[in-house]
Amino acid sequence: MSAGCLSLLMQFTTPVCVLRGPAHMVELASPACCELWGCRMEDAVGRSLMELRPQAALSPYRELLDGVLRTGERVTDHAVPIELGPEGQRRKVYFNFVYSPLRNEAGAVDGVLVNGFEVTDEVRASEALAQTVQYNEMFAGILAHDLRSPLGAISTAAQLVQMRRPDDERIVPSVSRILSSSARMARMIDQLLDFTRIRLGGGLRLQRNRVDLVEMLRGVISETESASPGWRARVETMGDGWGRWDPDRMAQALSNLAGNAAQHGAKEAPAMVRLDGSDPERVTLTFENRGVIPTDLLPNLFDPFHAIQRVRSNANGLGLGLFIAREIVSAHGGEVDVASAEETGTRFTVVLPRASAPA
């Protein structure tokens, strides 16, 4: 090594080393690199990395180094944890390592330049953020759960007033408003609880049973029409709608999709809902309406709280309906997709495997 080269290397404050050949012999190593290895530079140069750091022979580093020699492609290994310091004072740090191929005069790859960048602060910040997000979601879940009881008490008491004074015109409209607002809040709480269950890893519990989606779909559309004055849908079905799904969850998914169509679809033309059960393996449902979703919203339409990310133009929900519908369909092994254009309107397509439906 030339004196200039060595002098330059000594000024590196980050781990840098050059490894040569299939044995990954250390040709150069910066002081910071030697500190990571726990040895002096003169003890490192000329020795194989595997000899210097026997644990490296068994670790993914060996595979990474071999891969760079074999393919000649640069590889980055992110947030690699390393224990630094003497016994009893060890601290954990994180590095990103970039493995770059080195070529000889003939152009063949015969070595690897390893560059390390400490990212301990970034990793710690990311872990703290993830923890904060998890606490926030747990808090939202606990709050939603605890809000159910007082909300239930409000709703039950309001119904009692309604039953006791059914003809009192001064009371009935106010009680009706209490009840409709309670019902809306209950839906939001249910959605928030579903969201936290999904996000915190519990997932959605499925209790599969033999279900006829044709009958379920007609019921859901009828309920949505009752709840959405002025909105109408035509239902067309073909083939067999039977399969093994969770009836409550599936009704929730269909209700969310129908509710979305009722809320955002054009009122002047009826929505079109089709169920195609002609395939013995799967059932396909489509919800079509004349409404158009702006192109920039389409990629994130199934993201949670998408309505909040937009303008809060309505307060009917939290923007979780489509997210939950997709999670329910996914939990059943199915897929949901959306396409929207000025000429054709909007179409949501749900494909659901029947998951075998014994009689």
Partner: protein, 117 residues
């Protein structure tokens, strides 16, 4: 409803919901007893007249609704009493019990009770 006044035992830890259910059932002519958890309910079932039906919440302190239901099924004197589960999480209800989902629809609750009284 029969000639004698049917009795209903409400097992519910939320005092406001318990009070509204009591009022609604009494308006319909039922005799109502209340318990704030499964343990109080079990003592009531063993020391008082057999009710026509039990309206049972599930998530309660001291003794949950599911624990009370198991204790009732293990006691031949109580096993035959109809139990109507009132819960926001129907999947937790004991198999075979009718469920009125929370928030409670009072008309649905009264219609369900009527089937057993």
């Amino acid at each position: 409803m029969g000639v004698s006044q049917p009795q209903i035992l409400i097992v519910e830890d939320d005092p406001e919901i318990r009070a509204s259910l009591r009022d609604a059932f009494e308006d319909q002519g039922y005799l109502v007893r209340c318990a704030e958890n499964g343990q109080v309910a079990l003592e009531s079932l063993r020391t008082h007249a057999r009710p026509s039906a039990v309206v049972l919440d599930l998530l309660m302190p001291v003794m949950t609704g599911n624990e009370l239901y198991s204790a009732m099924q293990a006691d031949p004197a109580l096993a035959g009493i109809p139990v109507i589960v009132s819960t926001s999480e129907p999947h937790r209800a004991p198999t075979g019990c009718p469920v009125v989902k929370k928030p409670i629809n009072l008309r649905a609750m009264l219609a369900t009770i009527e089937r057993f009284c």
